[in-house]
């Protein structure tokens, strides 16, 4: 079972590394969207610092949302998804492998690039560290919950907008706590509560989302 998890994870990572140009897209998108705000609103450090947590978190949310498509789309189109569903291994484990790969390919790069954006947005150092922690705890949830949405919409033509419609409301708690943690840290206050909340949601998502995703995949396959 662990083997099946590992093999699928490696396969997805290998596939992604072989089409590297796509790999960078969510990352560029993330940086680009954040860059728009100083241009659209104001570049004064004070104002930037006020909106930084929200702007960075919303952009991260959108970057993950746009990349969710590749979680199941290709496998659905070439029939590999059927083969995964006919695996003697529990589908949940395979889903978890695909979500892990997705996080390594989108969530983790976002976490790594985030300090740069923190500097762009004049965040103090403590806040940047908290930004990294909050993204580290929050982005896996975005991948996990997003997987439910993609597996429901993967067979729908032009399902992109639909996906955002059904997934974004579910992302709200992560957004609130993630952005707030950074905000509070910028004021030099403790953020343990917010990070613990994100951790708790991650634990919940980790235990329930793969189950929901595998049910959703079976529903999608049955049409």
């Amino acid at each position: 079972m662990l083997k099946a998890y590992y093999h699928l994870l490696i396969r997805d990572l290998r596939l992604a590394l072989r089409s590297r140009h796509e790999l960078a897209n969510p990352l560029i998108f993330f940086v680009l969207v954040v860059t728009l705000f100083p241009l659209a609103v104001t570049p004064t450090p004070d104002a930037l610092q006020t909106m930084a947590p929200g702007v960075i978190w919303v952009s991260a949310l959108l970057a993950v949302l746009l990349s969710l498509d590749r979680l199941f789309k290709l496998d659905y189109e070439d029939g590999s998804l059927d083969q995964l569903m006919l695996s003697p291994n529990p589908l949940m484990i395979l889903v978890l492998a695909k979500v892990t790969a997705h996080w390594f390919l989108t969530g983790l790069p976002l976490v790594i690039i985030a300090p740069l954006l923190g500097i762009f947005m004049s965040l103090p150092a403590e806040a940047v560290i908290v930004l990294i922690y909050s993204l580290l705890l929050g982005t896996p949830v975005l991948s996990l919950v997003g997987a439910i949405g993609v597996s429901l919409t993967v067979a729908v033509n032009r399902g992109g907008v639909l996906l955002s419609l059904i997934i974004l409301p579910l992302y709200i708690p992560i957004l609130i706590f993630g952005a707030n943690a950074v905000d509070v840290a910028a004021d030099g206050l403790p953020v343990t509560g917010q990070l613990l909340f994100l951790g708790a949601v991650l634990a919940l998502a980790l235990s329930l989302a793969p189950l929901a995703t595998s049910v959703a995949l079976r529903i999608t396959a049955s049409r």
């Binding site: 439910i148 429901l152 919409t153 067979a155 729908v156 399902g159 639909l162 419609l165 059904i166 974004l168 409301p169 579910l170 709200i172 708690p173 609130i176 706590f177 707030n180 909340f197 949601v201 919940l204 329930l208 929901a212 049910v215 959703a216 529903i219 999608t220 049955s222 049409r223």
Partner: protein, 245 residues
């Protein structure tokens, strides 16, 4: 037992059985609603803080309650539909969504109308209003997914699963929005939860709540009957029904 449930939950049986219920539910919803509104608008005392404008709660609060309640009904019947493959449960869920969305919409509109005299603005990012708005989005997502999938059976199952995921999320969303709100607005007086309510206000409120529930019951029966007719339009029982007309 199982056999009995199967027979009882067949669309045909439901169709025959629901007709008299609709009559009872709608008549009693109407009577209670008129009486409740009368008590609420004319009998209940004027609020010493908010004057007459508070009377909108007799619509606002029951609508907000119903929007939550209908989502629960949707999630539970979707669960029944997915686990036990009972078609009627799927139909009830699909029929409930637009009703629930309308309740959420009514709650939002009345809430913002109430906000104008209270806060001087039609929209304030109050915790309850924000939660209600997110709930409306959840409804809209459900309906969008339901209509995007052509195959009826997988549309039901897919949107049903979404409703269940939503129900797991609602407490988390609710809690985080509450928390977000106290953080940003400090200890402003929330007009929605009063520590105690005058009994003359409470009675019409409860009457209205019951009236809304009966109204929903009547409406969901009508809509589920329509769903049943539409979905089974090629089955024999519907054809026979049409021929008798």
């Amino acid at each position: 037992m199982w056999h009995w449930i199967q027979r009882f939950s067949s669309p045909k049986h439901f169709y025959g059985m629901s007709a008299p219920l609709i009559k009872w539910f709608s008549v009693s919803a109407l009577l209670l609603g008129v009486y409740g509104l009368y008590l609420g608008l004319f009998v209940a005392p004027t609020d010493y803080q908010q004057g007459e404008s508070y009377r909108i709660i007799f619509i606002h609060v029951p609508a907000a309650w119903m929007s939550m309640f209908v989502y629960m009904v949707m999630a539970v019947s979707s669960g029944i539909g997915i686990i036990w493959q009972i078609r009627l449960a799927d139909m009830v869920a699909a029929a409930s969504a637009p009703i629930g969305a309308s309740f959420a919409f009514v709650a939002l509109v009345t809430g913002s109308l109430w906000g104008k005299p209270m806060w001087g603005a039609y929209w304030v990012w109050d915790a309850r209003l924000t939660s209600e708005l997110i709930l409306l989005f959840l409804y809209l997502g459900y309906m969008a997914l339901q209509s995007a999938i052509e195959d009826q059976r997988s549309a039901d199952k897919a949107s049903g699963l979404l409703a269940i995921v939503g129900v797991v999320n609602i407490p988390i969303i609710h809690y985080s929005v509450e928390w977000w709100n106290t953080l940003h607005q400090g200890a402003t007086v929330t007009k929605f939860d009063k520590p105690s309510m005058h009994i003359d206000m409470l009675i019409p409120l409860l009457l209205m709540a019951v009236a809304f529930k009966l109204f929903y019951a009547a409406l969901v029966l009508v809509r589920t009957r329509n769903e049943a007719l539409y979905r089974d339009r090629n089955r024999r029982w519907v054809r026979e029904l049409v021929e008798r007309l």
